[in-house]
C-alpha cells in the first residue's frame, strides 16, 4: 500500500518537471529566439542538452535544500512528536506538495498569471509542514534565507545586467570601430562563460583523479576549459564578421548573436541546476523514506543521483512536447531585445542563478531574468520597459505562497485519510 505513495510521488515529480520544461524554459530561451540568435529548433536542442546537464551535474545543492532544508527533520523522525507515523507522514506530505505545486501551476497558467515553480513548491512544502507539525516544525531561518534570496537575486541580476551592458556600451558601442572591438573581446566573453560553467563540475571531475583537489587546480582546469571554448569560438566568429563596410551595428549584433547562443546554453544550465529541485527535491525525500520501508527519515544519507537524471529527463520531455510552442510564442513577441542586450541579460541571469544554486538557494530564474533585463534597460539598452511588470510579479508572490500552501494542506489531508485509515 505504501509503495503506491512512491509511484504517485514519481508521477507527480515527472509531471512537475514536465511543467517546468513546458513553461519556465521559455523564459530562459525566449530572449535568444526573439533576438534571432537561435531558431526555435536550435533553442529546443540547446535547452534540452544544457537543462539536463545543469540538473544532473549541479542540481544537487538546491535539491538538498528542498528535500530536507525547509522542515525540521527532528519533527518527522521516529523519535519526534509524530512517533512511528513520522516518516510516512513526511512522505505523504512531500507527495502532496508535488501535487499541489503542479496543480497551482496549471491553475495560474490558465488564469494567465505570472507563475514561479520555485515559489509554488516552497509554499506547498511549508503548507503541509505547518498543518502536520505546526509552525515550530518549519525551519524559519532557512525560509528567511530563501525569501531573502527571492528579493536579492533579481536585484543582483539587475546589477550584473546593468554593469554588463554598461561594459558592452563602453567597450563596443562607444568605439569608433565597433565591429573590431567586438571581434577582440568576443573570445574573452566566451572564455568567461566557459570558465564559470566548468567551475560547476571541475571539482567533481578532478575528485575522481585526486581525492581533495586543491582550489588552484580547479581554477586552472576551469580556465583551461574556458580557453578551449574561446579557441573553438574564434573561427565561428570570424566567419560571421563579413566585410567591414556600411552600418557597423547590424554586424555587431550578428556577432553577439553567436555569443548569445553561448549564454543561452549558460542560462539553460543554470536554470536546470536550480529548478530541477522544484520537481525532484520532494521526490528525493520520499525515495529516501521509501527505501527504509517508511520506517525512518534518512537525513544523513546523500540523495541518489538517478533522481536528478529523472528530473532532468522530465524537464527535457516537457520542453520537447510543449515547451517549444511557448518559446515560439514568447520569441515572436520579444523582438525588441537585440543580441547585445540579450547577451548581457542572460549572462547576468546565469551567473546569479548559478551562485544561488551553489548556495543551495531555490530562486526564480524568471524573476532574475526580469531583474537583469531591467538592469540592461537602466543602462540605456532598451527602447521601452514596462515597469508595471514588477508590480505584477510582486502580486504573484503574494498570491502563490498562500495558495500553494493551502492546496498542499488540503491534498495532504485527503492523502492522509486515504493511507492511514
Amino acid at each position: 500500500m505504501e509503495h503506491a505513495i512512491l509511484v504517485i510521488a514519481i508521477l507527480a515529480a515527472l509531471y512537475m518537471a514536465g511543467n517546468i520544461g513546458a513553461n519556465d524554459v521559455a523564459n530562459a530561451m525566449g530572449t535568444s529566439v526573439g533576438s534571432g540568435a537561435l531558431t526555435l529548433r536550435q533553442a529546443v536542442v540547446v535547452a534540452g542538452i544544457f537543462e539536463f546537464a545543469g540538473a544532473f551535474l549541479f542540481g544537487s545543492h538546491v535539491t538538498e535544500t528542498v528535500r530536507k532544508g525547509i522542515l525540521d527533520p527532528a519533527m518527522f523522525a521516529v523519535t519526534g512528536p509524530l512517533g512511528h507515523q513520522g516518516p510516512l507522514l513526511l512522505a505523504l506530505g512531500m507527495t502532496s506538495a508535488l501535487l499541489a505545486a503542479a496543480l497551482w501551476l496549471q491553475v495560474s497558467t490558465r488564469m494567465g498569471l505570472p507563475v514561479s515553480t520555485t515559489h509554488s513548491i516552497v509554499g506547498a512544502v511549508i503548507g503541509f509542514g505547518v498543518l502536520v507539525v505546526g509552525v515550530g516544525g518549519v525551519e524559519w531561518s532557512q525560509i528567511g534565507r530563501i525569501v531573502a534570496s527571492w528579493f536579492v537575486s533579481p536585484l543582483m541580476g539587475g546589477a550584473l545586467g546593468f554593469l554588463g551592458f554598461l561594459g558592452i556600451r563602453a567597450v563596443v558601442l562607444k568605439n569608433e570601430d565597433p565591429v573590431g572591438a567586438t571581434v577582440r573581446i568576443a573570445p574573452y566573453l566566451v572564455m568567461a562563460v566557459g570558465t564559470i560553467l566548468s567551475l560547476t563540475f571541475t571539482q567533481k571531475v578532478l575528485h575522481n583523479v585526486v581525492s581533495h583537489p586543491h582550489p588552484v587546480w580547479v581554477a586552472l582546469a576551469s580556465l583551461g576549459c574556458g580557453g578551449l571554448a574561446a579557441l573553438v569560438a574564434r573561427p565561428v566568429i570570424s566567419r560571421v564578421v563579413g566585410v567591414n563596410v556600411g552600418d557597423p551595428y547590424p554586424r555587431v549584433e550578428r556577432i553577439f548573436g553567436v555569443l548569445q547562443i553561448v549564454t543561452a546554453a549558460f542560462v539553460a544550465f543554470a536554470h536546470g541546476a536550480n529548478d530541477v529541485a522544484n520537481s525532484v527535491g520532494p521526490l528525493a525525500a520520499v525515495v529516501g523514506i521509501a527505501r527504509t520501508g517508511f520506517t525512518m527519515t534518512p537525513d544523513g544519507v546523500p540523495m541518489a543521483r538517478w533522481i536528478l537524471a529523472l528530473g532532468g529527463f522530465g524537464i527535457v520531455v516537457g520542453l520537447a512536447l510543449w515547451g517549444y510552442r511557448v518559446i515560439a510564442t514568447v520569441g515572436r513577441h520579444i523582438t525588441e531585445i537585440t543580441p547585445t542586450r540579450g547577451f548581457a541579460a542572460e549572462f547576468a541571469t546565469a551567473c546569479t542563478v548559478l551562485l544561488a544554486s551553489r548556495l543551495g538557494l531555490p530562486v526564480s530564474t524568471t524573476h532574475v531574468l526580469v531583474g537583469a533585463v531591467i538592469g540592461v534597460g537602466i543602462a540605456h539598452g532598451l527602447a521601452a520597459l514596462n515597469l508595471r511588470t514588477i508590480f505584477r510579479i510582486m502580486g504573484s508572490w503574494i498570491a502563490t505562497l498562500p495558495a500553494a500552501a493551502a492546496l498542499s494542506a488540503v491534498i495532504f489531508v485527503v492523502l492522509r485519510s486515504l493511507f492511514l485509515a
Binding site: 523564459n27 556600451r169 568605439n175 526580469v370 527602447a383 521601452a384 520597459l385 514596462n386
Partner: protein, 224 residues
C-alpha cells in the same frame, strides 16, 4: 511565462521616425505651394493645399498613436518629456505648412515681382533646414541601437549645429523679406501686406520648429 514579454513596451523610436517621414511628406509640398502662389495658379494651389491637408492629418494620427503608447509607467532610455516635446515640435512643422496652405488659398494675393527672389531664397533655406531635421529624425532609431553612444552621437550633434545655423539664416531672410515688403506698402495695400508678412512668418516657423526639435535631441543626448 508571459512575464518576460509583458516587460517590453513598444519602442517609440521607430514610430517617431515614421511620424518624421509623414511630416516630411507635408513639408515637401511647400515648394509647389509657393510656386503656385508666385505664378498666381490658384487651381494648383488648391490642389496642393488639399494634399497637404490629407497628409497633415495622417501625421496627426501617427502622433496620437505614439502618445497612446507612452504611459508614464514606461521606462525609456531618454527623458519622456524630451521625447514628447520633440514629437510636438516635429508635428508643428506640418501644422505650420497647413497654416501656410490656408493663408495662400484664403485669398488670391498678388506677390510683386520685386519680392519673388527673396521669397524663393527663404523657401530654399527653410527646405534645407527641414531636410537637415529629417536626416536627424531618421537617425534616432540608429541612436537607440547604439545605446545613445559612439560616433553616431557626434554625427547627430553636428547636424543639430548645422540646423541651428540654417534656422538663423532663414530668420535673417525672413526679416529681410519683411523689410522689403514694408517698403512696398503703398503699392500693396494693407491686406496684401499683412498676408505676405504672415506667409513669410509661417515659412520661418517651419524652420523654427525644426530647430527646436533639434534642441530636444541635443537635450536627450546630453542627459544620455
Amino acid at each position: 511565462m508571459r512575464t518576460i514579454f509583458e516587460l517590453f513596451g513598444k519602442s517609440p523610436f521607430e514610430p517617431l521616425a515614421k511620424h518624421g517621414q509623414a511630416v516630411d511628406d507635408v513639408v515637401r509640398e511647400v515648394r509647389p505651394l509657393l510656386e503656385a502662389l508666385l505664378a498666381q495658379n490658384w487651381t494648383e494651389a488648391k490642389a496642393v493645399s488639399d494634399r497637404i491637408s490629407r497628409m497633415e492629418h495622417r501625421a496627426d494620427q501617427l502622433k496620437a498613436e505614439i502618445r497612446d503608447n507612452l504611459p508614464r509607467s514606461l521606462f525609456l532610455p531618454v527623458d519622456r518629456g524630451d521625447l514628447l516635446r520633440l514629437l510636438k515640435e516635429q508635428d508643428a512643422m506640418a501644422d505650420a505648412v497647413e497654416d501656410l496652405a490656408v493663408l495662400i488659398t484664403m485669398r488670391e494675393t498678388r506677390v510683386p515681382d520685386a519680392l519673388k527672389p527673396r521669397i524663393r531664397e527663404l523657401v530654399a533655406e527653410v527646405m534645407d533646414a527641414a531636410k537637415t531635421w529629417m536626416t536627424i529624425s531618421e537617425l534616432l532609431p540608429h541612436l537607440q541601437e547604439a545605446a545613445f553612444t559612439g560616433p553616431e552621437v557626434k554625427k547627430v550633434l553636428d547636424l543639430v549645429h548645422t540646423l541651428g545655423e540654417q534656422e538663423w539664416r532663414s530668420d535673417q531672410l525672413g526679416a529681410q523679406l519683411g523689410r522689403e515688403t514694408v517698403l512696398l506698402e503703398e503699392e500693396l495695400g494693407a491686406v496684401s501686406l499683412t498676408f505676405i508678412m504672415r506667409i513669410g512668418q509661417k515659412l520661418s516657423d517651419v524652420a523654427n520648429h525644426a530647430e527646436t526639435s533639434g534642441d530636444m535631441v541635443r537635450l536627450m543626448l546630453a542627459k544620455g
